[in-house]
Symmetry: C2
Subunit: 349 residues, 2 copies
Amino acid sequence: MSEKPVSLSDVASLAGVSVSTASKVLNGGGRVSAETRRRIEEVAARLDFRPNALARFFATGKSQTIGVLTSKAPSMFALPVLLGAQSALGRSEMATLLYSVPYDLQSLGDAVRKLRARQVDGVIVIGDSLEWPLHSITHSLSVPVVYALGVSEDPQDVSVTPDGRMVGRLAVQHLLDLGRRKIVHIAGPTRDLATNERAEGMTRTLAQAGERLAADVMYGDWTRGWGIRAASRLLEQGTAFDAVFCGNDQIATGVHMTLRAAGLRIPEDVAIVGVDNLSSLLLQPDGFITTVDTRMAALGEAAARCLLEAGTGTVEPGVHYQPCALVVGESTTGARPGSATDEERYLEI
Amino acid sequence: MSEKPVSLSDVASLAGVSVSTASKVLNGGGRVSAETRRRIEEVAARLDFRPNALARFFATGKSQTIGVLTSKAPSMFALPVLLGAQSALGRSEMATLLYSVPYDLQSLGDAVRKLRARQVDGVIVIGDSLEWPLHSITHSLSVPVVYALGVSEDPQDVSVTPDGRMVGRLAVQHLLDLGRRKIVHIAGPTRDLATNERAEGMTRTLAQAGERLAADVMYGDWTRGWGIRAASRLLEQGTAFDAVFCGNDQIATGVHMTLRAAGLRIPEDVAIVGVDNLSSLLLQPDGFITTVDTRMAALGEAAARCLLEAGTGTVEPGVHYQPCALVVGESTTGARPGSATDEERYLEI
């Protein structure tokens, strides 16, 4: 691996041109005839020549660096977004300069000054899905800015965020397709954007099928404890239901345990759907709970692509909703042959 | 936030020196008298001048970019290491170029060629705690390399990894301090380095106290399902035990549920300790299970500091073991007054 790298003058010499002409073609920055360009590019490809960063920086004035702002303590959702964005940028040889800062105007202002000093070519602001709307810093910078896992306060900004309505639609359509008609919804906090978008997608899908919820939406928090309390309340109230759409997988696990303990069969008596695909985030074996995966790493990659394409004028301003995906588990379709016992599997989440 | 940034010539003019003299002081790269240097630095500080990246790149030939290699699908442990490293680098205005690649020699060779072409100032290789040893790429690069969350195959390399023996020591010392003498250990897979280091720390700590395990170490996997099976086996065998040190928090939760279901009181009859501080990784409220936190973000920061200091000759070659921390929960010391009910709390993990 330690052979001497191919230099620009190696390429120039083999192509029969001057070093400065080769530089214009390979580092960008000047006019060269099509025929000469083709010859230089052909030699560069044959030798596997990679222009070095210093030369490219000289020639183009681009830093090949993207600034990334995350909140002070990014959540388990923001981390895969960060990774997805950086992986996509790395494939395009773009480095990232990360500032993990509180989301107040003072801290953002400091970060913007640093990003300008570093002459980054663009900026990605990663929210935490709960903060909404995100402060817009677009007008403080002369380079493209993309907002991910959150929505900028400025509707002209480009924001890339999970399609919360699609989450609600996929979850409920799956339950309807299985013939369930008495669906209840145990949701997260009513103040969260995700909660409201999911409920909206759910309600619309039910209405299109001529159905409605079997009970009012129950709002709480995102914990397993809330799933336990909410399911207990449903049982105490004697609500008739054959399916529960839960705000996340932790709520779903609490619901599952409580219904099982009460002697109900999952999914025969009650089918359960969660959100987040938590077992994939934990890198556990695939889960028992049917879930909607919001595909955070793919969202990060999409945000990076938007940023890389921002200069081409092909990226629409506004909110880009990223599709999610249903991951079917045993909590709606029953145990698969040869799989681990029900008791063991549901505890893997 | 959009005021015009302070330029080098603003500083030079106010300090009464030429632009080239100001550049030598602020971007590095030349000799200037102490008195002149002081005056220029004083003006720069007063104006909040930040040298721009292009100028610094010209003056020093440094890219201010660190290459970071992670495995193709980094685990929930590698992500906070990545974040911690990047946060520390960001504070030093260092960008990172991330390549998320399979850990084979071909892919590493490709990555090394790219890192050289980008003229990075250093490289961090982030392992996945399970891969061991990590391939050494140090000799393919002319810049410092630090290995994190894993140990390089070359003992002369700098590796920063969790102190697995300290994990075992803290867990067992805590149980001994609480007066427990019949301790059992339900571990992860025997092939994993973490498993063996923790068992070693545990055994040594027991020996120093003149104690030994109440049963042979039980090796399995890292899941809650394994915790359930192992605890069931202990109960069936009639093993007498008053404490369980578990390989991670997921095993611990499975053990806890199984013992509770069998009518045992936690911690009165059996105290339980896990590893990982999973509830902090999930950003859940503090957990019920007493756990040893391997402090992954701090480990990433330490790796970044090692790299930044590598040029100063103060970093020792070899393995730098990062300290972990005991996080005491109710599974060893009982419910705190005013806390949520036991049933609710243990389900939060």
